[in-house]
């Protein structure tokens, strides 16, 4: 499968472009938080570590998926590196999938290291083993799913618009997606036809990122149920497939000037 070398090369690119350096910032953030929170009671402290850690993991990841995601294909066209590649026995959809999974691999490594960092910080705060150090992992998995969705969104936008506009649109969708569950609530409260239908349609088209958010609950010591994780996985798989299919369809027809 030609997707693998492309993905690995994309991963190598982000490593050499020092994308993973964001981990240093993340560790500094965690260490800083643990030190300054030393005054609080132990349970308070671990709650805040979980909250700050997982939230930072999400925001850092989203920034990477948007800002690297919009450049994935754009850079290859702009620098004409794609020319010699597409002349080889390689389908355009393999190229797109390779770029996509390459960035996902980067995000995966990034997220795993961050989750390890949070677990370590919790070990330090709790002064020993505690269930909370394991409980963050299912939530981290959900965040990773969200990042995969955001990467696919960035990739789709960048397949037909400029990087700046793509970044703007992707960021806009991220904000809306975070609150799109409210859209459904709103639709339920609105009685009249047109607005109701529109809100419902928007709710189904826009990404519902609330499906992946379990950060606050985890801070309070809960873990997402197996049902929730399964549903979120299904949702991500479907949504990502649709986005990638659209990206491939657009990319398939492009002329490279």
């Amino acid at each position: 499968m030609k997707v693998v070398p492309i993905a690995l090369n994309t991963f190598r690119e982000s490593v050499r472009d020092r994308v993973l350096y964001n981990l240093i910032l993340f560790v500094l953030l965690l260490v800083g938080a643990s030190i300054f929170l030393g005054e609080l009671s132990m349970s308070q402290e671990s709650k805040i570590i979980v909250d700050i850690g997982l939230s930072a993991m999400r925001i850092f990841g989203v920034l990477i998926s948007i800002f690297i995601g919009i450049g994935l294909v754009y850079k290859e066209i702009d620098k004409r590196t794609i020319y010699s590649l597409l002349a080889k026995p390689l389908h355009r959809h393999e190229f797109i999938l390779g770029k996509y999974f390459g960035l996902c691999l980067t995000l995966f490594v990034n997220s795993v290291v961050m989750a390890l960092g949070i677990s370590l910080a919790l070990l330090f705060v709790k002064g020993g083993a505690d269930p909370i150090q394991i409980k963050i992992w299912p939530t981290a998995y959900l965040i990773f799913l969200e990042l995969m969705v955001m990467t696919a969104i960035s990739l789709l936008f960048s397949s037909f618009s400029s990087p700046a506009l793509s970044a703007l649109l992707a960021f806009f969708l991220f904000i809306i997606g975070t609150f799109s569950a409210d859209l459904k609530l709103f639709a339920a409260t609105v009685g009249s036809g047109v607005v109701k239908v529109m809100c419902q349609a928007l709710y189904y088209v826009l990404p519902n990122l609330a499906n992946f958010n379990f950060i606050m609950a985890t801070a309070h010591g809960n873990t997402p149920s197996v049902g929730m994780m399964g549903a979120a996985t299904m949702y991500a798989a479907l949504y990502i497939s649709a986005l990638l299919a659209a990206t491939v369809m657009i990319f398939q027809r492009r002329n490279f000037k």
């Binding site: 070398p5 492309i6 190598r12 004409r80 590196t81 010699s84 080889k88 026995p89 027809r253 002329n255």
Partner: protein
């Protein structure tokens, strides 16, 4: 089987942001290249050479027409594994070293590891990059990138090679090396299709050429047939003569181009050469050389374009 067959290929680019209008970059191109041929694709800037190659490499889609490589349609993956392509002004991932780039390309062709390593080493030596093989491509000069580009085009040991201006950006020595490399490939029995706007590059290498201008094929065939060698005409290069002598020569010459310390004097035939010589010698000048006049690519363009204009005028009237 033909290595390349192009039928009625036309490409319109759409330009303009608000008012979109088509610009014809390639007009009804027909071309055939046999197996084992080395074929020169000539034309001035904007002739449509790169456009043609990009269509063949599926980077852009033709407006109408079709092409076949090795008898297969352009999107045939098995055929793709048997060809190589060097883009115009190639650029590759600048965070990779040349060795990594070649290894990466080998993986896309599905070569196994041992084979990939062996070919990478061979090719790096062949294009003269072995010493720089482990330097990142961002530190490469233009000429080195061109060589890396050639190496990646050869990684799958292709039967047909498409090279878009393989000699541009190279110094004289580099041009010579690339020319020798192409000659070696031709001698191996590979088909080489390459574009250029420099006649001397293709003269030594090509069995046949096609000459393009403004998207249209002007002529194709053997270079010697195309360039009318006006064998009767001779050009003498003389030095050490003064203005007065030059004026004297004017009577016999069809054209005189002054040069530093002398002049290039063109005459109808060898009869006039004798007069020219005697005049030059009498004036105390010296004959440097006498050569038959051969048409240059520039002359050919001028001739063809004026002929085309004539034909168009006749058609209009």
């Amino acid at each position: 089987m033909l290595a390349l067959e192009i039928n009625n290929l036309t490409k319109d680019y759409t330009v303009g942001f608000w008012k979109k209008r088509p610009v014809r970059a390639l007009n009804d191109l027909n071309l055939q290249v046999g197996m084992g041929e080395s074929f020169g694709f000539l034309g001035p800037n904007g002739a449509g050479k790169t456009t043609t190659l990009k269509i063949l490499m599926r980077l852009i889609y033709p407006t109408t027409g079709e092409a076949k490589i090795l008898g297969c349609p352009l999107d045939d993956m098995q055929m793709r594994a048997r060809i190589g392509y060097l883009p115009e002004q190639p650029y590759f991932y600048d965070y990779l070293t040349a060795r990594e780039l070649l290894n990466y390309c080998a993986k896309i062709f599905g070569l196994n590891k041992a084979e990939a390593l062996k070919r990478t080493d061979d090719l790096l030596k062949r294009v003269g990059l072995f010493e720089a093989a482990d330097k990142q491509l961002r530190k490469y000069s233009k000429g080195m990138l061109q060589r890396a580009g050639l190496a990646q085009a050869l990684i799958n040991d292709p039967e047909v090679l498409f090279l878009d201006e393989p000699m541009s950006g190279l110094d004289p020595l580099g041009r010579r090396e690339v020319r020798d490399l192409i000659a070696a490939l031709r001698d191996q029995g590979k088909t080489v299709f390459f574009s250029s706007h420099v006649l001397s590059d293709v003269e030594a290498l090509c069995d046949r050429v096609a000459i393009m201008n403004k998207g249209c094929l002007i002529e194709s065939g053997k270079l010697s047939d195309i360039l009318k060698s006006r064998t009767n005409e001779l050009e003498a290069v003389v030095t050490g003569i003064d203005e007065a002598t030059l004026n004297e020569l004017q009577v016999f010459a069809t054209q005189i181009v002054p040069a530093p310390e002398g002049a290039h004097v063109r005459v109808q035939s060898d009869k006039e050469i004798e007069y020219v010589l005697s005049i030059v010698h009498r004036a105390g000048g010296r004959l440097v050389s006498v050569n038959p006049v051969r048409e240059s690519l520039e002359d050919l363009f001028v001739r063809e374009i004026s002929e085309n204009a004539k034909v168009a005028k006749q058609a209009a009237s």
